[in-house]
């Protein structure tokens, strides 16, 4: 068979994760998750005997680059399936492109909700799959006086709106909220840390994303603060951020996400082993990487059934599609194109590893249009706190 024919026989897909710029640390792990899944599928003979051929670009954490490269993928590379995007601003930039070309974007990132497009499959957590659980856990464990620190864009605003609502429902209070630029550095956080020390909240809810995450945690540690005094809780701080900031700085802080590197499932042990074998033992595996990984497999399962990469037929097969992901069995909800996921909360240990302290006994249905989640949301009945905060006993000393 001539080579060019072999090439046209492949399933060509677009991959848009930033390898440079403010969110490249996390997006590189998502790129790795994507590539790992594609290579697994290809080495097992591809899908229906055809290899998956990724067309990879670096959108450099800039929304306009995402838009231009999405256009490049759809117009020039003639691709109608794209895996990519981290920040909501980049997804919003790609959205009109995939809608106009009737392409399909697989988005492996938690986000603020309130979106549905027939051209997007959402495999990250909606607020009812991470914020509700985190609010519940933090108020049970630490108290109800919250301090919000976030990056200055839509996701922190909306996440904070939800958290504020949940805290106030329980009679708690938000002492202050601060928003810093995406490219904020350690010194930029100093005044925030001073204000935190002054106000002595029970807990800090951080929606700082990207490289600023490590800067914030470092500024916090440098001021002599630690998680025994006031823990920082986040929806985004992940294994890659911890590697950036170091175990000592990260130790004791919390993250709510459907996946952590250390989850003890058979699927996850295989996944992490393969990930490390492919990208190096030190490469962090994140919740974004896991979603990026399983969404390629969901795509492949659907493609196997449809035999056709056309958006309509593929989407039909994707709706209700299931896969045994590293986090547990996931399923695409046909009602909204989001995914049933497994909420978990983990605490960073002294070695810089996440240890799961709260988990759920079944996957939680996504509810991306939930305006007012309730602190007593029914899904919490299956949410078990296995380990209370180890330093609770010390807290009285601080007051």
């Amino acid at each position: 068979m001539p080579r060019h024919s072999e090439r046209t026989q492949s399933w060509r897909v677009g991959v848009l994760f930033s390898q440079t710029g403010v969110t490249s640390v996390i997006e590189k792990t998502q790129l790795n998750g994507t590539l790992l899944a594609i290579e697994e599928l290809n080495s097992a003979g591809g899908v229906l005997g055809r290899q998956i051929e990724p067309v990879i670009y670096d959108p450099a954490s800039e929304p306009y680059r995402f838009r231009d490269l999405a256009l490049q993928l759809t117009n020039v590379d003639k691709v109608n399936v794209i895996f990519g995007c981290y920040m909501s601003s980049t997804r919003k930039a790609v959205l009109p492109v995939v809608e106009r070309h009737n392409a399909l974007l697989f988005y492996p990132t938690l986000y603020e909700g309130f979106e549905f497009s027939p051209n997007v499959i959402y495999t990250g957590a909606a607020p009812n799959q991470n914020s509700v659980q985190l609010a519940h856990f933090l108020m049970e464990s630490f108290g109800k006086r919250f301090y919000f620190v976030g990056s200055n864009y839509i996701y922190p605003y909306e996440s904070n709106r939800i958290m504020r609502d949940l805290v106030r429902q329980s009679g708690g209070e938000i002492i202050d909220e601060r928003y810093l630029p995406l490219d904020a550095v350690e010194e930029d956080f100093e005044s925030v840390v001073v204000d935190i020390v002054k106000n002595q909240p029970d807990v800090i809810f951080s929606t700082v994303v990207g490289q600023a995450t490590a800067h914030f945690y470092r500024a916090y540690a440098r001021a002599g603060l630690n998680s025994d005094m006031i823990p920082i809780a986040s929806l985004t701080t992940n294994e890659a951020d911890i590697r950036e900031m170091g175990a000592e700085v990260a130790c004791g802080h919390y993250t709510s996400a459907p996946y952590f590197e250390g989850i003890e499932t058979e699927e996850n042990e295989c996944f992490v082993a393969r990930f490390r074998a492919r990208f190096g033992a030190d490469e962090p595996v994140t919740s974004g990487a896991e979603a990026a990984y399983f969404q390629v497999h969901l795509f492949a399962e659907a493609l196997k059934k449809s035999g056709d990469i056309g958006t309509e037929v593929l989407r039909n097969e994707l709706m209700g599609g299931e896969y045994s992901a590293p986090q547990g069995r996931v399923r695409i909800d046909p009602d909204n194109g989001h995914t049933y996921l497994w909420p978990r909360i983990a605490r960073v240990d002294a070695n810089g590893r996440f240890v799961v302290v709260a988990t759920t006994s079944s996957a939680v249905k996504p509810d991306p249009y939930l305006v007012s989640p309730q602190v007593n949301d029914w899904s919490l009945r299956q949410f078990k706190i296995m380990q209370t905060a180890p330093h609770m006993a010390n807290r009285s000393k601080l007051k």
Partner: protein, 202 residues
Amino acid sequence: MAANVLKTLRDLRVLVVHPHDQEGEILIRQLDRIGCQIEALWPLPDPLPAMADVIFITIQEDALDDLRRVCSDDGPLKPTLIALVSYEAPTVLQAVIDINFDAVITRPIRSFGVMANLVTARQVWLREKAQREKAHKLQRKMMSINKINQAKSMLMDTLNISEKEAYKLIRDRAMSKRVTTEEMAVSIINANELLQSLQKSD
């Protein structure tokens, strides 16, 4: 008020007047994601069901008169109305204005925009409802003040007393009879009119 609109979206009873086709499906499924309680009907019911909080109505360009009749503005405040239009032609938009729709969604219907329109329409409707109630209250108050003023000047003329004394007289009478000052004022006006007509016929 805006926060309340957002927080009560899942309590809204929403009626969708739309043919059973793909666009209707897009709208209904989006309203389902938003979490409203939805009912779908076609064709346009006459009269509009009183139970709905919000009605999405397909505008049929060839049946604008029927729509005007069904949605005519007399009687109590209609539910929140959102028009689904295929044309931005002035004929259609005039009907949208005449019928007093709270928002307009243009075709093709997409998931995006349904929630934004629903929220703003509801907000506009609530504001209009509050304004109407306020206007009605003020109107009642004005009428009441008018009646009391009329009764006061009658008493001032007849009994040759000051305005203050006239008012005190009305108020004391009202209290002892356990009626409002307005009702007492009306009784005085009626009695005075009766007396005058008797005097005239003498």
